[in-house]
């Protein structure tokens, strides 16, 4: 899941207007951003679901540090603290929660591959995931729903602040359109596997 996370961040921006959108967008994928170097180092891995060649929702992700419950809580807390120092407690808490929302949304789609604890400590504990990726169109529909909702509520909020500040609403419309269009492109690339 990629586009759905960005849609959720846009949805949060409509409510938490003091939190900069770029930071919310970074927060919503922060666990995956941390995952990238660990993946490149071979510490966290992706295994194709047997009988598939990978693709949208066809991966079993061994991300015991970034996508374990404890790991996600710690990484999100550090993210929130780092920004909270500069922008205040409320914004820091919002960013930490948005970062952790990644784990909750992934929980819906992942195929029983999300551990509670990182490393060997997790071996005896069950792995979590509701495995909606077994039905790719349902997962893609959920992402699309988050994206459309996020772009819509973001646009409404951006338009409202523009009107109340006495400035034009063109930029608000542009930003909302970019969220929707960019999200649709990312979702299409993700589902089709065109970009690898």
């Amino acid at each position: 899941m990629i586009a759905g996370h960005f849609g959720f961040a846009a949805l949060v921006k409509a409510r938490e207007r003091q939190a900069p959108l770029w930071a919310l967008m970074l927060a919503t994928v922060w666990l995956d951003v941390v995952f990238v170097p660990l993946f490149l180092a071979g510490i966290e891995t992706i295994e194709f679901v047997p009988g598939t060649h990978g693709g949208y929702g066809a991966g079993i992700i061994h991300a015991d540090y970034t996508h374990s419950l404890l790991g996600a809580v710690l990484i999100s807390a550090l993210f929130g603290i780092a920004f909270g120092v500069a922008w205040g407690r409320r914004t820091g808490v919002v960013l930490a929660l948005v970062s952790f929302s990644h784990w909750l949304l992934d929980l819906i789609v992942h195929r029983h591959d999300m551990p509670l604890l990182p490393g060997h400590a997790a071996a005896q504990l069950p792995k979590l995931g509701l495995a909606v990726w077994q039905w790719p169109w349902a997962a893609a529909g959920m992402e699309l729903g988050l994206l459309v909702l996020g772009a819509w509520f973001y646009w409404q909020a951006a338009r409202a602040v523009s009107v109340s500040a006495g400035v034009g609403t063109r930029r608000a419309g542009l930003a909302g359109a970019l969220i929707l269009a960019g999200g649709l492109v990312v979702l299409a690339l993700d589902v089709s596997g065109i970009a690898g």
Partner: protein, 33 residues
């Protein structure tokens, strides 16, 4: 690849467009006196 494209697009490009909107600013921990 779509992940990297998505991060760059949403954090940098959408973030820059959004930053030009008159949103309330985050309240710093210790506001200037």
């Amino acid at each position: 690849m779509q992940f990297i494209l998505g991060v760059i697009f949403f954090v940098v490009i959408v973030g820059l467009v959004d930053a030009g909107l008159p949103w309330p600013k985050p309240r710093p921990k210790h506001p200037p006196r």
